[in-house]
Symmetry: C3
Subunit: 207 residues, 3 copies
């Protein structure tokens, strides 16, 4: 696993730590809540991925990830003190970038241990989605992953793009860029134009 | 692990994917929420079981489980479009069958790796209960497991039935059928007659 | 790992099972909810720790922990039937002791497998915090860990105390006592005097 991979993973952790800190701000938490929420969002998805793949957990192997989490939270707090009008919109954008970066990390890590492509796509999705899901569940928000715009599906489509590029024989770096660009553009597009996929054409009966 | 085991596990996954899809319908989610909720409900419990037992996670080893989850969700969506009066009752029944099937799978898998019987019973209960618990927590519902009818305890009693049959020297298949029947009958009975076990005879003081 | 370690771990499990049972009482659950909630609170944190460290899960290796959980829940139920005025205050105190005991167990277990000190401190915090977090999320309460008094941070400071004593060459037992005392005193002090750390000096804009 080369430098590319490490940089994308660090960037994903930093961006998700920022999104956790912004959620803590939204929820008027204090400094201690920030540490918990930033950590859960930043390392929750990768922790689950590594446990499912039975790999050493990434932040146990390399403590850089713990320090970057704390650093990103600290910088975000300083920023919010200087410029308190950091609105909800930035939380969504940070979340979208974290989703795409982590999707690529999960895909790559699964393929390195020779998992089948369908498992690799699931791992990308888990890595991308799970930290934010924990963040929302702990804060008792409706999880973004369920709120009616395409979200987890952007990881799956990004993963399919990766798979096509991979089977076409492109290098790992190109595959990663393709998956990254597909995921981030789809997610930003979904936020901008509220893409949805209604599948139920009727309301459920009252229970 | 023979065909029996595999069939019961596939059936449990399919039934729990249906229960996740029905919950998504109840909550008026779109197609993307369905994929997430069906997957979490169908493979969440088994994933935790395999991680705790330090076994390879079942759907990483055999990708059939991912495909059956998507297939079950798809069929349920089609059914709901034809027949929208799929009421809440069916969610509870699907959940009860998933509980019993997964209980048996958890028991069996723990005993195969020579875990003590008390651990095996706990694994059956975790496999049966955890996916539905995640489903309810993510949807911000009061978890079925806590809602005042016997639920997790049906897995424990089914597990005790398995243990008695096992120590009596009966074959693995017979033990599985006994645990399955006990769990499903107890759970359906609890739903029908609202079996409860009040242990606190007084209300807590106001805090 | 000697007797000390085992006793502290058993005490932590028992105290957290009590705190889960008290929460079930607060929420007017029945006997089945008590079993689930006591177990989740008592063994949830340690289960996550062992999975992250890729160690055998403690209660799979030693079933004493399952029995002490059930015993502690049973004794608490009996106590509440005799003396129903067990107020909310006791839940907080049980939770504080569980936090400190589990912090020490997590630190110790991580250091035994030669994890770096920063990982050990994170493991202490996870062990201390995660069971109670699950308890609160399942019960749809605002998690104590986020409610605005120092909580997770007491584990981190206790862990730093352990680290200083450890690098000063003190024996493992002395390090454990130091971390235990720091964590419990800080947490009780935070409850008594409502210590907080406001880091956001402005309110977030309306979204």
């Amino acid at each position: 696993m080369g430098d590319w991979f490490h940089i994308i993973n660090l960037a994903g952790v930093a961006v998700c730590a920022i999104s956790g800190t912004l959620m803590a701000y939204q929820k008027r938490m204090d400094g201690f809540g920030v540490v918990v929420l930033a950590s859960v969002t930043a390392i929750g998805g990768g922790t689950l991925r590594d446990m499912v793949l039975d790999l050493p957990v990434f932040w146990v192997q390399n403590t850089d990830y713990l320090y970057i989490t704390l650093l990103a939270a600290f910088v975000t707090i300083m920023w919010l003190r200087l410029s308190p009008r950091f609105p909800y919109h930035y939380l969504l954008i940070a979340d979208a970038f974290g989703l795409a970066l982590f999707n690529v990390v999960g895909l790559e890590k699964a393929l390195i241990v020779d998992a089948p492509m369908s498992v690799a796509i699931a791992m990308g999705t888990i890595t991308g989605v799970f930290g934010g899901l924990l963040r929302d569940v702990i804060c008792r928000e409706v999880p973004l992953v369920l709120n009616g715009e395409l979200y987890a599906i952007t990881c799956i489509v990004g993963g399919l793009g990766y798979a096509i590029a991979y089977y076409a024989g492109l290098s790992s770096q190109i595959c990663m860029v393709i998956a990254l660009v597909i995921t981030i553009l789809m997610r930003l597009g979904a936020m901008r134009w509220h893409w949805q996929l209604p599948v139920f054409h009727s309301d459920p009966p009252k229970s």
